[in-house]
Symmetry: C2
């Protein structure tokens, strides 16, 4: 039922907005590039008569009405913001496949009982402003609106100011109790190698890994890199290097289940001939099993403190963010599996290694996700790639699952 | 013969220019703060009738004439630029003690055969623009003027443009052959703990350690910090952490003689949930013995390459800078020792752990240095501190050594 050429064409056109330096995209949340991406999407939605609504935290919804105006919408949500060196499909595929579903329903004159919305969530990536999944998190009641408005960006900007600048602080309440969904689906690229390695076309996502994020500040003593004897040094970067190594070892304890990453590390005062006096770093630990993640968490705390003590460094650990492991709605997961089977696509169940807006949505409403493989499992990289057939199959499964949920 | 109150007063007044956030200074080379520091010094020099000359690379000289106009000057040189979080005495003491020597010679109506100059060298620290000791290096023929003009700062600026902006590209040739010195002295804080630990008031500097600086770029593959299995990662920061640890171990092989530091480490793309695809870092290795430094150099190269290979990372090492170990002029070193002894100050011979402008000057002319202890041996830190007595003793030794060299 899907127009693959139209879907692929809109993906390629969106990829022109906020181009990266290596074929990907740089549309950091709440920047002018992010606005330009959203404006292009809005232009398309309005062209086809889908009415937009912006809520008070900058989530955008465009609607195709249903036949029963008393019913809550079935929602297809994802995001248009990217990592600093992001790919063309992470998030974008879910939004534009959603638009393609609405367009195809129009093409075929299909009516549904529930209205159907495409949601563009505010700041999913969590790159410029952390943590991730902010817009969906506010909607789901995980964060208060005010705490998110007060977030500071890597560039020193305040989220609330950026929202105002863009005019994205809409009138609709950003609150699932006042704007509930009947069901929610998200199509996304896998961002890992499992489906490709197994030769499967569709991933039926049963849930997402739990994750914990940290901020660590290591304080030693700035001193001259020449005349200061090694035995007297309190080198914050030497301590930080041991923490990076620790995080890497913690990630490896449980085969492909656990993982752990340091993505940011800043050195102060950042001069070639000064022993670093302070280092800031972030750590990200993940595991599908909440209890095992807790073990990783305790080990991280314990051994990081020990590294600081051994090297005479002050170490402060802030537990920055926790996203719990949550299984998706069994009925909706079944409907995704049924759709893949009915369409004749090879498929398998899979646990998402990444967080997604729909992980937060699932806390307060029935939700499920669909994965398609991406080349080499590479994402958060400008080289991220999929084929038109992947987009088409993912969109077709989305179409079937949404149509079923939205009723005739 | 020295006016300690006047010397200390000018040190404290200079410390008001480009204040840091913790009691120290931020007068990075060729910034407006650096200009303000130089302007204050020029104001003082002009007040007392010492004529300024700026050379073509931004070195500033102020002169007290001698009785024999055919003779080359005896020079007291150091610098007014600081580290990003620098102290109030590093470099500044040498310049303002030089000015105090000229003022005291005036006070006492002492004539000398040679003219006596105070040199303010351009960019000694090498923090904003690397490597360090640039102005003295051009004068000594270590660098060409053009290569230094083309240097890029950490902030992306070009050194030549900054020089022009400040009007510091003077008419005098920046060339020791056209502007030779009869002798050169530099008073400096030790920047390490040796004198303080030994309870000595004066360090008679016999030479400086050799040093080698490097730039290392580690390239892996950016990928998502969640769904990418640990076994498939090519995490540039994990490799970089091993290099930081290696550098630290290399620094420890030879007790207090060798040392090694990573002062800068930049992570790309710098996002919490992206496996770093690229890291840039600098390394600084030092040893008083050139041959031993060569061993450290070879080990650094060999083991860094091995770290890259083991972790499937591309590693590029650039040999960025080398400053050879060079003994100071034996006669001038003796004159410093004699002056300390005559003044009744406790003293000892010492090898400088840091590079100094006078290390470059010594390549082409007779030169020597005088150290005074600094509190806790701490430097390149806003907390850097000395007492008025330290400044007075160092300046008095400088006065005697310069007066001897400048002749009656
Ligand atoms: N899909 C995605 O990149 N989500 C951001 C949150 C995470 O890093 O898991
Ligand atoms: N004294 C000083 O900080 N010099 C800069 C060059 C070096 O790091 O040795």
């Amino acid at each position: 039922p899907i127009n693959t050429e139209r879907l692929w064409g809109s993906l390629m056109e969106m990829a022109q907005v906020g181009p990266g330096q290596a074929g990907g995209n740089r549309r950091l949340a709440l920047t002018d590039e992010d606005r330009a991406g959203r404006d292009l999407f809005l232009h398309w939605a309005r062209q086809d008569g889908f009415e937009p609504t912006t809520d008070a935290i900058g989530n955008l919804f465009v609607r195709r009405p249903g036949t029963d105006p008393t019913l809550d919408p079935v929602v297809m949500g994802s995001h248009l913001d990217t990592q600093p060196t992001g790919g063309r499909f992470d998030g974008v595929l879910g939004v534009l496949a959603g638009l393609e579903v609405l367009r195809s329903l129009n093409d075929h004159g299909i009516q549904t009982r529930h209205p159907i919305d495409v949601a563009v969530w505010m700041n999913e990536e969590g790159a410029r402003f952390s943590p991730p999944m902010m817009g969906s998190g506010v909607w789901a009641g995980v964060f208060t609106r005010q705490e998110i408005l007060d977030k500071q960006g890597q560039d020193g900007s305040r989220l609330g100011d950026e929202l105002q600048r863009l005019g994205w602080n809409g009138d609709a309440p950003a609150d699932h109790r006042q704007r509930p969904f009947a069901a929610c689906f998200e199509l996304h690229i896998e961002q890992g190698p499992v489906l490709e390695d197994a030769g499967r076309q569709i991933g039926v996502v049963t849930g997402a890994r739990a994750q914990r994020w940290y901020e660590v500040t290591i304080t030693g003593q700035e001193a001259h890199a020449g005349p200061t004897p090694m035995r007297l040094r309190r080198d914050a970067l030497v301590g930080a290097a041991r923490i990076v190594d620790l995080v890497n070892r913690i990630g490896q304890v449980d085969g492909d289940d656990g993982c752990a990453t340091v993505g940011i590390l800043d050195v102060h005062p950042h001069s070639r001939n000064v022993i670093p006096g302070r280092v800031f770093l972030t750590a990200d630990l993940r595991h599908p099993d909440e209890e095992q993640l807790k073990d990783m968490h305790h080990r991280f705390h314990r051994e990081t403190v020990a590294i600081g003590e051994a090297a005479n460094l002050k170490v402060e650990i802030k537990d920055f963010w926790h996203s719990a492991a949550l299984p998706f709605d069994a009925g909706l997961v079944d409907s995704v599996r049924d759709a893949a089977r009915a369409l004749g696509y090879s498929h398998q169940d899979i646990v998402s290694g990444a967080g997604h807006d729909t992980v937060y949505v699932a806390r307060v409403c029935r939700a499920a996700m669909i994965f398609v493989p991406c080349e080499g499992g590479i994402s958060h990289n400008e080289a991220e790639n999929i084929q038109p057939g992947d987009a088409q199959r993912g969109c077709a499964v989305l179409f079937e699952a949404v149509r079923t949920a939205a009723g005739r």
